[in-house]
Subunit: 173 residues, 2 copies
Amino acid sequence: MDSRFEEKEFVACCGSIKFAQQLAAAAGGSDNLEELVETARDIWFNKVDVNGWLEAFAAHPQIGQTSSPNTNTETSAQWSKGEQSTALATSTHSTLQELFDWNAQYRQKFGFVFLICASGRTTPEILSELKMRYSNRPIVELEIAAQEQMKITELRLAKLFAIKTTSKINNEI
Amino acid sequence: MDSRFEEKEFVACCGSIKFAQQLAAAAGGSDNLEELVETARDIWFNKVDVNGWLEAFAAHPQIGQTSSPNTNTETSAQWSKGEQSTALATSTHSTLQELFDWNAQYRQKFGFVFLICASGRTTPEILSELKMRYSNRPIVELEIAAQEQMKITELRLAKLFAIKTTSKINNEI
């Protein structure tokens, strides 16, 4: 299969190296978004182990911020900023402070950053979700976080796919 | 509450430091085994995060062996040997080799050692359980491993409790 996508582009979609390597090997040449996403879901939920999940979570900035010490690519940082644009536009000094405090409490309980597919969600919505999820058992919350990570990955794969398709059309004109 | 149990004694029962600290704080003076186990279950399943679970798993030797580079106490290593006595008595060179190979495969897929409450179980039983569990999704297997860890912890808490009770009686005679 020709390689349309590089492993490092998949790392920008989901920061687990195992995920990116396996996706590049299985669907690096795919020209079908649906198939690409299907393969990505199978790898993420069935093949990546808990260490890979934690590695991917660690690549995200804390919600309300736009960069993380572990954000592994520039693309990932830019996408994160875009995904949080509604939240940032609807935040005030006091809601941001509340988000910051709850984030710290969340990380203290669960050992990883609070993860939510923020696209189109306001800061009050995100805060209320965080407070609700805080009462979960750690194993339950781990699985929810992995599902949120997959939603983020799907949005990013779609963006990556669109970029590749546009550049292919431009090259052919 | 008087301290009957020390934190390091709880570490020998379950290698998560967070678990041992919280149990010592909540029930270090308990003279009721049922209450001690109940508190331990609550801490393990509701309060220890996934990093603590992985830390506890890492303190176990691979099944079929009796020491781990991470086994954090001498007591833990001795208990592990006792728990595996049936397995060791029922193993042959070839089943031990098979166990070794499947363990390696398991660790490769899940990122942690295969954990089973081996007490009273033969090597063929353990092998068949390992092969069955190998097909699980990583998140499912993580929760099963945590349940097995809790069974081991309960047996060890009961042993610890018995030792303390005997020594108290001896001191009083």
